[in-house]
Symmetry: C2
Subunit: 688 residues, 2 copies
């Protein structure tokens, strides 16, 4: 640290420059959040000038320290730091803050801006992601490091505010982080006593430090970071010396520090300071009050030097890795492959191939377990766990070692009853690079973690969600546990594939597509109860998202279905065909993937002008584009044995056949609306 | 308490009977959770035999103590207690545990079973609901009690397990409960060290007691509740003496206590014990091992006596209320009205009526604020707050008093940055009776609280959710804050109305319908930015969910839209009509309410066989039932000024007119698929 020390005057000038440049961005945009950057600038200075190992030229250097700005609305601060440290973000980018298609959006987006690890903004997510980042480091270190080659040895730093610590998702993740003793995670808590509504005394008077002690964290408080950095620097040193606990350092800051009229007030939070106030702040900082985005040369020198130090470290690490490559070529190649996001060529060689008449009917959650067991030995980056539903979700590979404080090489995660924290943590693991995490709970609890699933979809993180107990068919647990709306809720999200396999082949296809889609998360919804294998299924067909599972000569009716209801439809089709209504069954394990097929293929499966009935024990929403009529759940479910519940709500071969018959009757003398004869107007634009 | 004391032997016999009858239920059902009831029986005994004020004959007696079984999977315990205490739940009901249409479903359902206050099962919700129940009591006490009339003076008791305390939702709500100093909330923590995955040491090693101290709770531990009750009894007395803090009593229990082979193991959690094991447990309890649902007469006497005491208390309270009615007739009638769920006749008299050309264009969130200000003085049960977005959500009524520890009469709630906790708390307030709560956040954060919203819909709680910043139009905050899928996610849930008003009249209609629907929650999605009033709108029309906002003679095209996009469509229709394509604009503020109108009305608005384009800056999902083509969001949004973002993604009069024109062209030489010419098969059954 000694070598980095610049003396208090230059340090303060650096910090004040960070404040000014960060406040300039919302000012230029006439939109944004100056207050938090002005308060958090001291922490940011210390991180980029002294603490962090990073390479602006190689922002994806895998051994870099990770930084997460959990209070993402303070992103002007992060952009300032990236700009000062030589990342590909020039003053033009800063001037473009919050403008359309800029690289400086209103909250940090990992896929837009080099140096941003995760998308933050939705509060509580960033700190929870950081726990995943820290877990990833310990796991890779345990897997690949040797006494001579400490390839993986980085810190994870976080800045977060009151909001992040009020959110339940961070509570869940932080409790687990304490349990896991993540010693290289250091959180700076921007303890400014201000939220949007006003003072934190309005709603947040708990003892945060005591709470984090209760979680098993190492907790410190620094009361002055506004005008000097020595206390904070010392606290970081202590935090680093505590290697068996995550650290949180509560830093008493002043929101909008330096603003003549808004310092310490929530008025500094969410709107530009305004010209006079900003000029006043710059005067207080000893900076020219009329210059925007001004960086004094001596300040730039500090960051240029820090940046050069980082490049040197990166080069040294590359040398280390080159030697490692010689010593452990297989491991080195595996690391490269994992970080490139490439699957092994034999990833799917062991996927189960179901033989009808020989293999046993099982629940798709059991087929899912077979797939996990087939993939895990081939794909070391595929690992995960469950939110305390391991025996129900069937997610623990044979002979797995639990990932725990004393067994960081373990690849099975015990997330506890913490669905939201779990999903935020796996986002962090994915963001680290080299991981393809899966996580699991009951489908109904997707509603507990939708906030994190959304961020996976937005961030292009190919997470695999194994959501079992996927319908009213779960039975006795009743409506609180029976998902109704969740499939459509997930399907309506951009960039996510939702599979609901009907049998073993379809389950295998779901896993194959899921892992092949590196940039798209996948939900695999599995049944609690046994399903009958489809004669017409195969992995290849199911990979198309929808296909003809049972066809009839000159069909007069099509029934589309998914998951455990397909077998009822197959039985219904037998009845209907026997009764003179030749019926085609389309199994549609994944609407999204089906819609990616050629129009020709789609029409070959679903011509659109043949009476079409969809059958899914779920909300009818979303099925109107494919079918003229729906057998669906138009209410919540109820408690009872699964087969009786299915039957009660109409998911029986008899009712399906009856409705199929009625549908054909309905169109006997009237034209069938051709659902394929509709235009799809390409959107003017899609986002990045 | 003295009078209730039965001596240790009879007490223990009561507790063991509770254990046996609770274990009998899963045994009979061959499904369910015996372990937690066997562990928690001592707490339940104390509650029903001694502590709680209840009336089995008048289960909705408004002054009753409230009990919440937060670990809802232990519901056999609750059913046992209701059965023993004389509620309308006989042994036949217990034998019907978890069977179709029984009153003893797999998790407690408040609308099915007298004596169940809230639906529990999804972990963490119950304890959070209880915080709302306790808040409700303090608010009503402050509003209506006088020194001579303590009408509202009840305790709220909770039993919860490890799962509930791991969930983030309970962390959020518990932090707020500590802040609010809810002295009459007493939580029994079933501290049994077991979760589904196994021992809590797998993932949950935090110091729970210290954490609750950090929240500001009064914390006690009782190490033996298995064989004697004196320590627990004493702890409850201490808890009651601490009137300025909520209390949690960690009770060291043994899951499956008494089971010869499963006691203390997660094997006792989720499956029946099995005949031999159950018999062994009964032997250990000193009960006949072959009898199912056996209640020794002396045990029944204990509960009959307790129940009679409750009836007496209820009668005394009724006398008190009758005297109150004489002394304060207006207040008494208001209490009766509120608890009957009836609105005042003049509830909506002050709703704003927008005059075009006179009133100012505002954002619908500002119109929403006007509605709140119009309703609050008329409807005292309508109160709520925001998850720390008060200035953005515009939810604080003029001159409101905050509900705080020292101002429990306050009617504005500062929930903090705790969306999930907020939604669970308002569920509890509604469940108390006499409240019509609203709560607010940004629409994008609906994903943080979907778990609690779902329970409102399931439980028939007419909560009003004010979700502002309802589209990409919010602009600079970018894709993390721009909702895309949330409208459809909410629409696909059963029993919820989702309004997205386009102007002042539609906003007023949304509030009117919301409050009129006592048993259905309502989302009101509001814009951040100003909207133009529709010439064709009115409260009456908007109350139908969808209506013709602008018509044309012999229309050849229909454009359906919602919210802030309607005005773009109106402008597009002007262009189109001028260009020879007479265009009708349908404003559809609420799909659910529109679908409840007569088929004739629906067809008069949307005939189905006219080219129909829907325009909503949201996922296209759900629109295919109404329109042939969609202008919608097929990706996440991006950061930029709102009007530019709208324009970029195609939500401009020009693009809408262009696509409208193309749609008419598309069907120039082909039949228009008639979207109304589809059958709706009534579901075989809906749930209760």
């Amino acid at each position: 640290m000694q070598e980095d020390y610049k003396g208090p005057a230059l340090e303060l000038q650096c910090v004040n420059t960070i404040r000014a440049v960060s406040a300039d961005q919302p000012e230029a945009a006439n939109s944004g959040h100056p207050g938090a950057p002005m308060g958090c600038a001291p922490m940011a200075y210390l991180l980029w000038a002294e603490l962090m190992k990073y390479s602006a030229k190689s922002p994806k250097w895998i051994a870099r320290d990770r930084f997460v700005l959990s209070n993402g609305h303070a992103c002007a601060l992060q952009y300032t730091m990236l700009h000062l440290s030589g990342y590909d973000l020039d003053v033009g980018d800063l001037k473009n803050f919050r403008q359309l298609l800029s690289r400086t959006p209103g909250h940090p987006e990992s896929f837009l801006t080099d140096g941003v690890e995760v998308c933050t903004g939705p509060l509580g997510q960033g700190i929870s992601n950081a726990i995943g980042l820290a877990m990833a480091e310990t796991n890779l270190a345990a897997e690949y490091n040797t006494p001579d080659y400490k390839l993986f040895d980085n810190y994870t730093y976080v800045i977060c505010g009151d909001g992040c610590l009020q959110e339940g998702v961070s509570a869940e993740a932080s409790s687990l982080a304490g349990h896991l003793g993540l010693g290289k995670l250091i959180v700076f808590y921007d303890d400014n006593n201000i939220t949007i509504d006003g003072d934190t005394t309005l709603s947040f008077t708990e003892d945060v430090k005591k709470r984090y002690e209760a979680y098993g964290w190492h907790v410190q408080e620094v009361t002055d970071v506004v005008t000097q950095l020595d206390d904070l620097r010392a606290a970081v040193n202590v935090a680093k010396s505590v290697t068996d606990k995550p650290s949180i350092i509560a830093c008493k800051t002043l929101i909008g520090y330096g603003s003549p009229s808004k310092q310490g007030s929530h008025d500094a939070h969410g709107a530009p300071l305004g010209g006079d106030d900003l000029a006043g702040a710059k005067e207080a900082y000893g900076l020219p009050k009329d210059k925007m985005f001004y960086v004094p040369p001596e300040v730039q020198e500090v960051f240029t030097a820090a940046s050069q130090k980082g490049e040197k470290a990166c080069e040294e690490w590359q040398d280390l890795f080159n030697r490692y490559m010689t010593a452990f070529p297989d491991k080195a190649q595996e690391i490269q492959r994992r970080f490139a996001g490439r699957l092994p060529v034999d990833a799917f060689d062991n996927l189960p191939k179901f033989v009808i008449g020989q293999d046993k009917d099982l629940a798709t959650r059991k087929f899912s377990e077979q797939c996990i067991n087939a993939i895990v030995p081939k794909v070391p980056e595929f690992m995960g766990g469950s939110a305390d539903l391991t025996p129900s979700n069937c997610t623990r590979p044979k002979n797995a070692i639990d990932y725990q404080k004393d067994t960081p090489q373990g690849k099975y995660f015990r997330f506890g009853i913490r669905e939201h924290g779990m999903c935020a943590i796996v986002n962090g693991m994915f963001a680290y690079g080299g991981f393809r995490p899966y996580c699991a709970t009951f489908l109904t609890f997707a509603g507990y973690c939708m906030g994190s699933i959304r961020l996976a979809a937005l961030s292009k993180f190919g997470i695999v969600y194994i959501f079992t107990h996927d319908s009213i068919g779960l039975g006795e647990d009743g409506p609180t546990h029976q998902p109704i709306e969740q499939l459509e809720q997930l399907r309506s999200m951009p960039n996510i594939n939702v599979f609901r396999p009907a049998d073993s082949n379809e389950t295998a296809a779901a896993y194959k597509v899921a892992l092949e889609c590196h940039d798209t998360p996948t939900v695999i919804a599995c049944s609690r109860s046994n399903v009958k294998a489809l004669f017409g299924s195969s992995i290849e067909k199911a990979e198309k998202g929808g296909y003809i599972a049972v066809d009839a000569e000159d069909p007069r009716l099509i029934i589309i279905s998914t998951g455990s209801e397909v077998e009822f439809c197959v039985q219904a089709a037998e009845k209907l065909t026997a009764a003179g209504i030749p019926t085609r069954i389309v199994s549609m394990p994944c609407q999204e993937v089906f819609l990616q097929q050629s129009k020709e293929y789609q029409i070959s499966v679903l011509p659109g002008d043949m009476p079409t009935l969809s059958v899914e024990a779920s909300s009818p929403h979303g099925w109107h584009r494919f079918s003229h009529a729906q057998i669906a759940m138009e209410s919540f479910g109820c408690s009872g044995p699964g087969e009786k519940v299915f039957d009660y709500f109409g998911f029986s071969p008899e009712n399906i056949a009856d409705k199929g018959h009625k549908l054909v009757q309905f169109y006997k003398d009237a034209p069938v609306p051709n659902l394929s004869n509709v235009p799809h107007f390409e959107p003017l634009h899609k986002s990045h």
